[in-house]
């Protein structure tokens, strides 16, 4: 018997709201299966399970917000039998009563207020039956968020979007059905603003911890990208649009390879010591248009070519902004990269995500005057910065890292 707990989906996450169960008691699950959907205030995440087993009981109903580590479901081994109902004082699930299951979704119906307080966490979670139909509800992330903040069960909303997807308008229609010739009601407080405020608080906690605990040092170097961009332009004319590359993927790939060369930048600072990581999982800072920043993970970025990385990056960014992330895409980055993109500032000095030991920043790629062999020309260039933990490394190793990054970007065809 083991517990499936609320996972930590990022250094700044303290609690998460269970939005939806994808399994019900009695279901067999395999390692990697998506069993639940969790809202972390920043993003809606599909949570995978990491062992095989049979769901014995769901301990937290959909709609409830619980701290990281709270048992969400109990799992028994495959082939194991359900425990007797009176094993100990803790309430056990009634074994599938024939009567209609309790409406778990009722917990979602928090009255719409300016800031609905999360329901208190029961010290001993009471097992609940799964909702009668745990079918997958297709809804846009925006619709889900609005539905939740308004206390609407998305499963009960009829979708008008493509393929029956529930859209924002569908949810809003449920809350305020169209009324003829009625003065517009005073607008409800925008849920997006509330959400952004919460995300901001979570980010504030992680960043304050970083600046309190991590003695940052900063290095910066300007990297000539004329070769990389020239190679990319030719390469892209030969590629189908689906496989087209962006400069960002060359930068990420170069960071992953440089991290392998200088392992002091890749890993965690735990218990007073650097623990270099065996693989390179790159956290990629993705800003959300409604405000806030999420850093989903490109796993094993040092072992994938640019085509694969580009596909994964596009998918990850799209789902961060418009869709649903999976738990395996958050949480265990070994090094984070922030890329301001072509509309951004010239350079960025990052704040390290604890317990990581470095953060690589790229400013906007822009044409710069460039001195070379006694002449000044104009070249596209980017300012790369390294913010690193002085407990784990020093400026000498940091310089080696940036030099490796530069060297790798001068041979784009080998990336």
């Amino acid at each position: 018997m083991s517990d499936f707990r609320m996972p930590s989906l990022g250094a700044d996450m303290e609690a998460g709201t269970l939005v939806e169960w994808r399994v019900r008691p009695g279901d067999a699950v395999r390692r990697g299966d998506i069993v639940a959907v969790v809202d972390t205030d920043k993003a809606v995440i599909e949570v995978e399970i990491w062992e095989d087993g049979v769901v014995d009981a769901l301990l937290v109903p959909a709609g409830q917000k619980v701290p990281v580590g709270t048992p969400l479901a109990r799992l028994r081994p495959v082939g194991g039998t359900a425990p007797p109902p009176t094993a100990d004082a803790a309430p056990r699930p009634a074994e599938k009563p024939a009567a209609a299951p309790r409406a778990v979704e009722a917990a979602v119906a928090i009255p719409a207020g300016p800031a609905p307080a999360p329901p208190p966490v029961a010290p001993t979670p009471v097992p609940v039956e799964a909702a009668p139909a745990t079918r997958r509800v297709h809804a846009t992330p925006l619709a889900r968020r609005i539905a939740q903040s308004l206390g609407v069960d998305v499963a009960a909303v009829e979708g008008s979007g493509p393929g029956g997807v529930v859209t924002r308008a569908d949810v809003e229609r449920v809350v305020s059905p169209p009324r003829a010739a009625v003065a517009p009601a005073s607008p409800a407080p925008p849920p997006a603003a509330l959400r952004a405020a919460r995300a901001r608080q979570a980010m504030a906690a992680a960043m304050a911890r970083s600046k309190r605990e991590i003695p940052h040092y900063y290095l910066t170097t300007r990297i000539d990208l004329s070769r990389a961009l020239g190679w990319l332009a030719v390469e892209n004319t030969q590629r189908a649009v689906a496989d087209r590359l962006l400069p960002a993927v060359l930068l990420l790939r170069a960071v992953a390879l440089a991290a392998r060369e200088v392992p002091e930048m890749n890993g965690f600072f735990v218990d007073g010591a650097l623990q270099p990581a065996a693989c390179v999982h790159l956290g990629v800072g993705v800003s959300l248009r409604q405000g806030g920043l999420v850093a989903p993970v490109l796993r094993n970025a040092d072992t994938k070519n640019v085509t694969v990385l580009m596909r994964e990056l596009g998918d990850l960014v799209a789902r961060t902004r418009t869709g649903v992330l999976r738990s395996s895409e958050l949480g265990d980055a070994t090094l984070t990269v922030t890329n301001l993109g072509d509309q951004g500032a010239e350079s960025v000095y990052g704040v390290i995500y604890p317990p990581q030991v470095a953060l690589v920043g790229f400013g906007r790629i822009a044409e710069q005057p460039w001195a070379h062999e006694g002449f000044v020309g104009v070249r596209p260039a980017v300012v790369a910065t390294l913010a690193a933990d002085h407990r784990a490394s020093d400026g000498h190793r940091g310089s080696r890292f940036l030099a490796a990054l530069d060297r790798l970007l001068q041979a784009p065809e080998k990336l």
Binding site: T140, P141, L142, A192, A233, N236, T237, A240, V241, A242, R244, L246, P247, A248, R289, Q290, L313, G314, V317, A318, R321, T322, G341, D342, Q343
Partner: protein, 80 residues
């Protein structure tokens, strides 16, 4: 496809890429990447989705012609 159908298809893809955007208020001449806050990954995704729905693969050298809604519609109309 006529212009209206193309316009509808373009707006549908934009709403996929930037679901928060209020597209019914989008000015035909507004610069898409600025008003919709699209970065290069969003924009590539937009181009990829247009290729999937209209069959038109826009080369990078023509991206400048896609800066506004009316630009995108005119570009696609001249090629489909």
């Amino acid at each position: 496809m006529n212009r209206e159908a193309i316009r509808a298809a373009v707006l549908a893809e934009l709403s996929e890429v930037a679901p928060e955007a209020e597209l019914d208020r989008l000015e035909p001449g507004a610069v898409l990447r600025e008003v919709l806050d699209l970065d290069s990954i969003d924009f590539l995704r937009f181009v990829q989705r247009l290729a999937a729905t209209t069959g038109v693969e826009v080369p990078e050298s023509d991206y400048a012609q896609l800066s506004t809604l009316e630009g995108v519609v005119a570009y696609l109309a001249s090629r489909s």
